[in-house]
């Protein structure tokens, strides 16, 4: 079937089986391998994408569910020249170890900051509770989110 959706700000019209998992469609059909798959059962958050701004798991979504939605994957966040403030904060605070959870962490963080622009450390922990880091680098990820929140607040403060 033909599926129409916006992917990282670009209108797409693709032919796909309606029951194709979104994570497979992104990684294998569209070559967007920034989205990771680890558990495949909704436990780990590695495959997190944003659907109309909200964090969802691409391993538990079928292609047909993309129809007429706006999708953001990690490829649509920042650029090599200008990182997104969340990505910048991850670099600044050393919040990346092996990096496999990072795309999902960054996208979940963006959803969290949309809901809570000035989160407490506890709110950050709760907001990222669906994303596992098996290097257990959580402290620095929480540090990065705190930094990103204040960078974003500064930006907003500017005229």
């Amino acid at each position: 079937m033909i599926i129409r959706f916006a992917l990282n700000g670009e209108e797409k019209e693709i032919e796909a089986a309606p029951d194709r998992r979104v994570v497979d469609l992104l990684r294998e059909d569209l070559g967007l391998t920034g989205t990771k798959e680890a558990c495949g059962t909704g436990e780990c958050g590695a495959c997190t994408i944003l659907v109309d701004g909200a964090a969802r798991l691409s391993c538990l979504m079928l292609a047909i569910q993309l129809d007429r939605r706006s999708i953001t994957t990690i490829e649509g966040v920042g650029s090599m020249e200008a990182l997104h403030p969340v990505q910048e904060a991850f670099v600044e605070k050393g919040a990346v170890q092996c990096g496999f959870c990072t795309p999902g962490m960054v996208l979940a963080s963006m959803d969290l900051l949309r809901e809570h622009p000035a989160p407490t450390r506890e709110e950050i922990r709760k907001g990222l509770a669906g994303n596992l880091c098996r290097c257990t680098g959580y402290q620095k990820i929480v540090d990065a989110l705190e930094a990103a929140a204040s960078h974003l607040a500064e930006k907003r403060g500017k005229p």
Binding site: A17, P18, D19, R21, G40, T41, G42, E43, G45, T48, A54, A55, R56, L57, L60, M61, L62, I64, Q65, D67, A108, D111, L112, K126, G127, L128, A129, G130, N131, L132
Partner: protein, 281 residues
Amino acid sequence: MRPVFLPKNLGEVWEAWEQAPMASVYAGGTDLLVKLRAGLANPPALICMERLKELKGVRDEGETVFVGAGSTHTELLADPMIQAHFPVLVQALQVLAGPPIRNMGTIGGNVVNASPAGDTLPPLYILDAEVEIWSRVGSHTVPIIQFILGPGRVLLQPGDLMGGLRIKKRSGRWVHHYEKVGLRKAQACAVASLAAILKTDANGVVEEARLAWGSVGPTVAVCPEAEEALKGRPLCVETLRDALPVVQAAISPIDDIRATASYRRHVARGLLLRLSLLGGQ
């Protein structure tokens, strides 16, 4: 390839079912799609209810509140009506899985999946929620305790759709409480959980109590004898301790990968005794 229907309204649901009578229904996909991938389900077609407008939202009906089956956990957490009338449900939703799953999963899915560990179920039992079932010929309601038959089994006939839940508002001073013990704080099935609502007088004496445990039996465990035993007594450890024997008789936990049956009995006991901490409220 398996056909997937994405109905926008009820008419399209009935049409989809006509074309694929054996289709399985899902909304968030957080249970069914996991089973499919594990080879535990193999339906010839799927109907995804995420865009069905009739299943969405919370409606004030005066004495009752109607909760659309397709409302996501995140939507319910943010809903002023749910927050005002059913804090015990809010407390359960806060510890259900993690944020992305709460953005996807729906309350209808949690009920129809009928897991003994389903976090919304113990609150819905003690709130006497009724399940509204829709079919092509009409609708009817069934108390949730009758709707859930066993693990993964509910009272839906082919061609039936869970439309939503109808929950009565309560008057008077009720304390709401949900506590879950899992192996981690998020993204964890309950080892055991307890939902409680308690009506106390000005002196802290229990006038009415409703209790339901999750993960300690094939379905949610209720214990009217324990509810009766708390009545007319102060909410303290002694009162709660006296109710323990009937509670232990009412639950039937099993060993599984998360915990042993005997550990679950200890936890169910601890969860009850900890209600004494609410005594001052």
